[in-house]
């Protein structure tokens, strides 16, 4: 008879402890275990303002191209043949040749910058050293904006897709459309530096603009970080991964793909007082057992 009573007390303690612990993890499980497919989620595009997409209203007629050579820089090694003077609003130049210029801010890049944004290190022909040919060609259409954050509570900015899977040595054409009215970026890091200065391929689209660029990935199985580097945009949802081949392991904190690495501590549905109730009960039960049997 006594034995039944004892075990009842113990079971009660254990049950309370389990209940308390599960109450704590409840809020986390809700967000972490439910993987939402961004493609399947229903997004309302009706409220989007497409009229603002061609929002640049700038007069470039006053642009002083004559003064370009008067600035105190070494232009001797500059490759003027690659400059496209016919398109004044998107002057392209080869920055990789500027030996005498201090590029500490932007390194040596192949970059085009205009009202609509920027394309950096676009490469549609040079193969990585380890690739004999292009294995496959992809055309990725990525959209960015606050509406893509809606399926993921706790994020503010988002992309239409947060994971891209491609074959090694493949050629990737990215069309990046920004549905917001602020800048967004689609930036890949840690590509080979001999081919992509600073290891970056980078598209930046102004509010309402679309930018297109191409890059060729090397042959190794690797997972690359893709993000928007406007302050706090990656942290608040604009983080994705590019999986080449088998990849090299998932990156954390990617909306819809992987769990947040350092989640905040969220309020729980159960008060933590119950943890102490359980603790107290188990102490009392131990004392009770000790007095009975010792």
């Amino acid at each position: 008879m006594n034995g039944i009573k004892h075990s009842f007390g113990l079971i009660l303690c254990v049950l309370i402890a389990i209940g308390t612990a599960s109450g704590f993890s409840f809020a986390e499980e809700q967000s972490a275990n439910k993987v939402i497919d961004p493609k399947k989620s229903e997004i309302d595009h009706s409220g989007m303002d497409h009229s603002s997409m061609g929002s640049s209203e700038m007069d470039h007629s006053g642009m002083d191209h004559s003064s370009m050579d008067s600035s105190e820089m070494d232009h001797s090694s500059m490759d003027h043949s690659k400059m496209d003077h016919s398109k004044m609003e998107s002057t392209e130049m080869d920055h990789s040749m500027h030996g005498g210029m201090d590029h500490s801010m932007h390194g040596d890049h192949n970059m085009t910058l205009d009202d609509e944004g920027m394309v950096m290190n676009s490469n549609d022909s040079t193969l990585p050293k380890d690739c004999k040919s292009i294995s496959k060609e992809y055309f990725l259409e990525v959209e960015a904006g606050v509406e893509y954050a809606k399926p993921f509570p706790g994020t503010i900015f988002g992309m239409s897709e947060h994971e891209f899977k491609v074959e090694p040595c493949s050629k990737i054409n990215v069309t990046f459309t920004n549905n917001d009215k602020v800048r967004h970026q689609w930036m890949v890091h840690q590509l080979p530096k001999y081919l992509y200065p600073q290891g970056m391929f980078h598209l930046e689209a102004a509010g309402g603009a679309t930018k297109t660029g191409t890059f060729i990935v090397p042959s190794d199985n690797k997972t690359y970080l893709v993000h928007c580097d406007v302050a706090q945009h990656m942290e608040k949802g604009m983080k994705a991964q590019l999986v080449v081949g088998k990849g090299s392991g998932d990156l954390p904190s990617i909306p819809g793909v992987t769990r947040v690495f350092r989640p905040d501590i969220y309020p729980s549905t159960v008060s933590e007082v119950y943890l102490w109730v359980g603790f107290l009960l188990s102490v009392l039960a131990t004392i009770w057992l000790a007095r009975k049997f010792v």
């Binding site: 470039h60 201090d102 910058l113 009202d115 950096m120 900015f157 942290e235 608040k236």
Partner: protein
């Protein structure tokens, strides 16, 4: 009988414990009695001083000017004045701010980091040789924010060595990464505190577009700037959510329009939850320069400070012009953005849990930096017999009592309005209330009134909290008026007195370095060596104390 034994044992144990205590813990009457009975004790050395070694600096606080940013130069036809400080403003950004990002060469734009539409200067409406249509685009940037992937702050920004409070700032629209490069978590030099000083000319048709790149809603209120309450389309133009317009949500933008008829030193700031958003750093100076022919003004002054391309009107009366913004921030407020990543939790903590009426400021800054980081960039470099225009703004929530050594400044304008010239007063302590702007004329004529001669004359808030960083002095918004004869070629003052190396180390602000360490050669005020004690002695003392208690309790349990 047994009880008596137990009591005696208990007392013995307690006495033994007591005797093992250092005599400092004995009650005063007992110590006097002991002295009476046994006389003075024999000499023992007090704890020895220990040497504190000031760590080597990882970075040169005054780096050489590899980029050639310091000398006076002409970029795209814009004359950019010499900057004599260690860390000058980027002259390409200055040139692009003067000429307009739509009018400069591609090279200048690339070197400035502005986007082509950041500062657009359009038509010359009055035909006086300068553009009168100005369209500036601003973003909102978080510095020292949280990350779900790491514990250190991201888009990092130091106000002093190792001091990284969270900030929100307005920043000009720029392209590329927010950090210096992929390896660095530090913000690029366009993203910093304070929000940039904006300059337009009186009568300009001004458009300011706020592109809300931040994850919370914001607006802009143009404080003191002549602007209509509603714009031409009937949209709110005053930035006040309660009466004018719904705040700009993340990813959205709004354009404010006005044509200021009066010149003066004004401000712009966010008016959403102003008791937190302003103090988080969403406040900058807005200067309207007097209308003059051929007056190309420097529309953006990154980090405020020296105006490298002053307006025509300023050049008529002054040798140089300086924008000075005093700021203060409360640790409990600014650490919220580093503590949480989920914007819902940040909003709740800021809007509902944080109570500003219980707040005290911890970090005091001048132009986004605290001493000694003010010195490489925010000193006022002067020559004798000249006049300098100082536009001073108080963006903090306390009264700044600005005191300058060696000078008495003349207060020419309050809140952008000229003080009656015959009644203008001279002071060496200037009270600047919260949100107030005071224009000062710094006259370097050595006449015993305006100036007492050349030197390195410090200038600081005389509310003494303002010269500390989280209570450590020297810190806060201390800077100096430095005469050129007292300036080294590298831009640092030829100072005398104590060594500064310690001030540039994080350890100093972590309170690990005795403040007089460099000149206290005999270690009179050094760190004290801890008293050597054995662990066993402490355990033994603990056992004695416990025994005395056990014996005492046993008295009540004994049957006799």
């Amino acid at each position: 009988m047994k009880k008596l034994v137990l009591i005696v044992l208990s007392l013995l144990a307690f006495s033994a414990f007591f005797l093992l205590l250092p005599s400092q813990y004995y009650p005063e009457p007992l110590r006097l009695k002991l002295y009476e009975w046994f006389g003075a004790q024999s000499f023992t050395q007090l704890p020895a001083p220990i040497e504190t070694i000031v760590p080597d600096l990882i970075e040169n606080p005054c780096p050489p000017d590899h980029q050639g940013w310091r000398p006076a130069q002409v970029i795209d036809g814009v004359s950019v004045g010499e900057s004599k400080v260690c860390k000058p403003d980027n002259p390409y950004a200055v040139a692009a701010s003067v000429k307009g990002t739509n009018n400069v060469s591609h090279m200048t734009l690339m070197n400035s980091k502005f986007t082509p539409d950041s500062v657009v200067k359009g038509k010359d409406l009055d035909g006086d040789g300068d553009p009168d249509e100005i369209h500036i685009r601003l973003e909102v940037i978080e510095l020292n924010g949280a990350s779900p992937d790491r514990t250190d702050p991201v888009t990092a920004y130091d106000i002093a060595a190792g001091v990284q409070p969270g900030f929100w700032v307005f920043a000009p629209k720029t392209f590329g990464m927010s950090t210096e490069n992929f390896e660095s978590t530090y913000a690029n030099n366009m993203l910093r505190a304070p929000s940039p000083a904006i300059r337009v000319e009186q009568g300009d048709k001004v458009k300011i577009t706020l592109e809300n790149t931040h994850y919370l809603p914001h607006t802009i209120h143009f404080h003191g700037v002549d602007h209509p309450f509603l714009d031409e389309n009937g949209e709110g133009n005053d930035g006040v959510p309660q009466v004018s317009e719904v705040p700009i949500m993340p990813g959205d933008q709004r354009t404010y329009e006005f044509q200021p008829r009066q010149p003066g030193s004004m401000m712009y700031h966010c008016h959403v939850q102003p008791h937190t958003h302003i103090l988080m750093g969403l406040l900058g100076m807005f200067v309207i320069e007097e209308n003059r022919p051929n007056n190309w003004v420097q529309s953006i002054n990154i980090g405020a400070g020296h105006v490298r391309s002053p307006s025509v009107a300023i050049k008529e009366d002054y040798a140089e012009e300086y924008d000075l913004q005093y700021q203060a921030i409360d640790k409990q407020l600014n650490e919220i953005v580093g503590k949480y990543n989920d914007p819902r939790l940040i909003a709740k903590e800021m809007n509902r849990n944080y109570d500003i009426t219980d707040a005290t400021s911890d970090y005091y800054m001048l132009n986004g930096k605290s001493f000694p980081y003010t010195i490489p960039e925010s000193i006022i470099v002067v020559e004798p017999d000249e006049k300098y225009k100082l536009r001073v703004t108080n963006a903090s929530d306390h009264l700044v009592s600005l005191h300058m050594h060696g000078h008495k400044v003349k207060l020419t304008h309050y809140d952008g309005v000229e003080h009656n010239p015959v009644a203008q007063i001279q002071r060496d302590v200037v009270s600047i209330s919260a949100a107030q702007r005071v224009d000062m004329e710094l006259n370097t004529t050595n006449d015993g009134l305006n100036n007492y001669g050349e030197g390195i004359w410090v200038m600081h808030d005389h509310d003494e909290k303002g010269v500390t960083t989280d209570g450590m002095h020297p810190g806060g918004g201390i800077t100096a008026i430095v005469y050129e004869s007292f300036l080294n070629d590298n831009g640092l003052p030829k100072k005398q007195g104590v060594d500064w190396q310690k001030f540039f180390t994080p350890e100093f602000f972590q309170r690990e370095i005795p403040v007089w360490v460099d000149f206290d050669v005999d270690k009179l005020f050094a760190e004290v060596e801890p008293t050597e004690t054995s662990i066993w002695k402490y355990i033994f003392m603990g056992i004695l104390l416990g025994l005395s208690l056990v014996f005492l309790l046993a008295v009540f349990r004994s049957d006799y």
